[in-house]
Symmetry: C2
Subunit: 205 residues, 2 copies
DNA sequence: ACTATTTTGTACTGATGAGTAAATTGCATG
DNA sequence: CATGCAATTTACTCATCAGTACAAAATAGT
């Protein structure tokens, strides 16, 4: 706890304290979802891991579906930010795509990104599922756009952008399943290495 | 129904009838698991889809965990068979690897293969999970072996076999999530196309 | 101090669904 | 015919867990 803080919080601080608590709930939840799976995790478990009780979670988040939705929204938000960032970079289309992909892979090894990949949309309720799909579509569109630009400027080999996007995404999503965050391999290196492989291909040149 | 069959089945026939019923249960189950997710599918639902009752399922399979385990075992069996088949082929290491990969991708768009990918091991009970992991490890080993052989004979570019296997597997697993079996794209073509992309890479040559 | 609002906890409800007990039918065989 | 086994059903039990009602602190505003 921060002992330098005034015991008389301003409205501003209060809002941020509330937000911090909400975030703490989401972080605890996402870690448990990733470790044990959404359906194997009860909100009682999540609450217990924070030393609070279930209704407190319901005070900050409406229901379990929303807890999951917020988690994946954070992950997807990071991905969308990465796409925005890549879009405004200098260099060839291939350069921009690779920059995006490295970041994309890194995010997928992070708490919220992992949750995005590991969450099958069947887990969400219909409206949340629609929102989830919508955001994922957006990432996919962004990735395809970068591919198309790369092909256009000749920095990428011509190919079907849709299939290329699925192939690349699949390869870079998979670490969400196998990468051990506690392991020795750094996500950054891993991400770079994988993107490199995808660019070069497996045939000798 | 087959009206030419004798109404006095031999022990042989009886065994095969029993096996056929068991298979029908597994097929109905796997399709529902794939469509709605394991946890969203009750065995009552599966039974209803076959016009039978839940205890009948329990007559053929011990419990829900085993139903899922049998499903993934079938999918993994197909993959292992594909690896065996590829291993005994003529051609370079790259040829054998590609043959395996195409088949691998196809299987992942099929009922039982899709289930293998979509099933997080958290869904299974500890012992089944161990069995599941063991079989998946075997596929991984086989894939790595093919990669190593390809590098050895110069038909593949040198690379880290472990990372290559994860990258390739990720790319070819992903269709289990996005490919629509009812859609117009044929799994065979798709598989070939994806493997081709992975071999060539995205950089122009 | 007094009231309203926010935060948090205790103790419930209610639904869902895995798994089972026991009865039923059919067939096979001594 | 009696006995036993396989297949199948109806009608349960029982545990889990999402979600809620309501009370009790804490906090803020007046």
């Amino acid at each position: 706890m921060d002992l330098t803080a005034s015991p008389f919080p301003s409205p501003e601080e209060k809002r941020s304290v509330r937000a911090a608590k909400r975030d703490a709930v989401l972080r605890a939840a996402v870690q448990m979802f990733n470790a044990r799976g959404f359906h194997q995790t009860s909100l009682d478990d999540v609450a217990a891991s924070l030393g609070i009780s279930k209704p407190t979670i319901y005070h900050y988040l409406g229901n379990k579906d929303q807890v999951l939705l917020e988690c994946v929204k954070i992950g997807l938000g990071q991905l969308i930010a990465a796409a925005e960032d890549a879009r405004t970079r200098p260099g060839t289309g291939a350069d921009r795509l690779c920059a995006f992909l490295v970041r994309y892979a890194e995010i997928n090894m992070d708490d919220f990104g992992r949750c995005v990949i590991r969450t099958g949309d069947e887990a969400l309720m219909p409206e949340s599922r629609e929102r989830f799909r919508e955001l994922k579509r957006r990432i996919d569109t962004d990735m395809r756009t970068l591919i198309i630009e790369g092909i256009a400027d000749g920095s990428l080999a011509p190919c079907d952008p849709k299939l290329a996007a699925f192939t690349i995404a699949g390869a870079l999503n998979w670490p969400a399943r196998w990468h051990d965050p506690a392991g020795s391999e750094s996500p950054e290196e891993l991400a770079r290495h994988m993107v490199d492989m995808l660019c070069r291909g497996f045939q000798p040149r």
